[in-house]
Symmetry: C2
Subunit: 205 residues, 2 copies
Amino acid sequence: MAESAEENPLQKAAYHHGDLRAGLIEATRRLVEEKGPDGFSVSDACRLAGVSTAAPYKHFKNKNEMLIAMVLEGTERHRADMLASLEGIPEGSTLRLKALGREYVSFALREPGVFRLKFGGFTDGLEDPRLQAAGEETFGIVLREVAKCIGDNGITADVRRRGFMLWSFVHGLSFILYDKKLADMGGDLDLDFILADIAERVLSR
Amino acid sequence: MAESAEENPLQKAAYHHGDLRAGLIEATRRLVEEKGPDGFSVSDACRLAGVSTAAPYKHFKNKNEMLIAMVLEGTERHRADMLASLEGIPEGSTLRLKALGREYVSFALREPGVFRLKFGGFTDGLEDPRLQAAGEETFGIVLREVAKCIGDNGITADVRRRGFMLWSFVHGLSFILYDKKLADMGGDLDLDFILADIAERVLSR
DNA sequence: TGTACATCAGTGAACGCGCGTTCACTGATGTAC
DNA sequence: TGTACATCAGTGAACGCGCGTTCACTGATGTAC
């Protein structure tokens, strides 16, 4: 209550509202998931957060900054979930890459709005060095696992190429599955089998 | 000039303007490529086509129908280009699948607006049975080639699975390449090599 | 502990804007005789 | 070939709407003494 002197910077934003910044990011996320990236409006987010339409401008420069902040937060969760998915799987096994792929797709289906906002491009101006850095960090996780699988020391050109192939695959898979084309294209596809199969094919010498 | 009696139904729309329907579709395409799917407006298209803002409603029910018509037209071109890319490549060769993949990616990079509008989803209401049918037809091309490569008779579950894997791959590749992540992820990737490599890996027994 | 002051998160009203769509119209073209 | 009529592609003005952003403000909170 009356403790000051030192302050937790994470709570610094909590003044009147509790933490409007976080509240607006959450509202943004929910609206983007609900109505799609195009359907999102600052006014809607304010309505959802229960503040006036001018309030966000105390925390974000403009609409675009709100979206970027939201996507950054989602990307962080995505990265954490991928790391968590590795737990308990033996080092150097292709199963680790299968797990990463599964989690990648799973996130894309759980939060398609965030996923598409991040990768769907064309939401002009949503380019930010922080977003790119976060993406590269996530890709780094994959590269490390690929290197361990094929027994290379460090990130060689070969590791990079194979990692890129796996990424392209799960990336496309995410879009296609969300678009519900899977069922239409001949339903009886086993996602687990396909993920394991592609990992083995791409990582075999 | 004064020839009537019989009429070419393809030119039937050419009354006053020449063919405003086609003109508006072309304007739509150019605007979507230029400003992205979100940036497109009926007013802009009218400006570009040189007609009043009310004119489109003589040819399309609403904005969405304009977009759908444009994407359908682009999908048709995409399909034709893919078929053309097979010419001169021996039947049953994985090179045919490499060629299809290359053309798929190439189209996505040539017309990213159309590509994203078709597959990026989330442009609410842009669902149309004709669009889905066109997509399945294109996928059929791939399946036919896969079947020939692995020597199966007709479209078996295995053919379907492998075709799906290849599609996912080039689909993701298209998005990633457009997002310019390729250069960032370690530049020296040879697209031709990767396409040939993945086709071989996915089609090997 | 109590008071005076500074800070700044959130308000509410207003703005100018471009949008999608409608309406009654007009005028060029095709057709019947 | 010429005239009267029907058609319907395209007009231009108008509409109501929700948007992103601004502004001067207010009032709760933290701080200094």
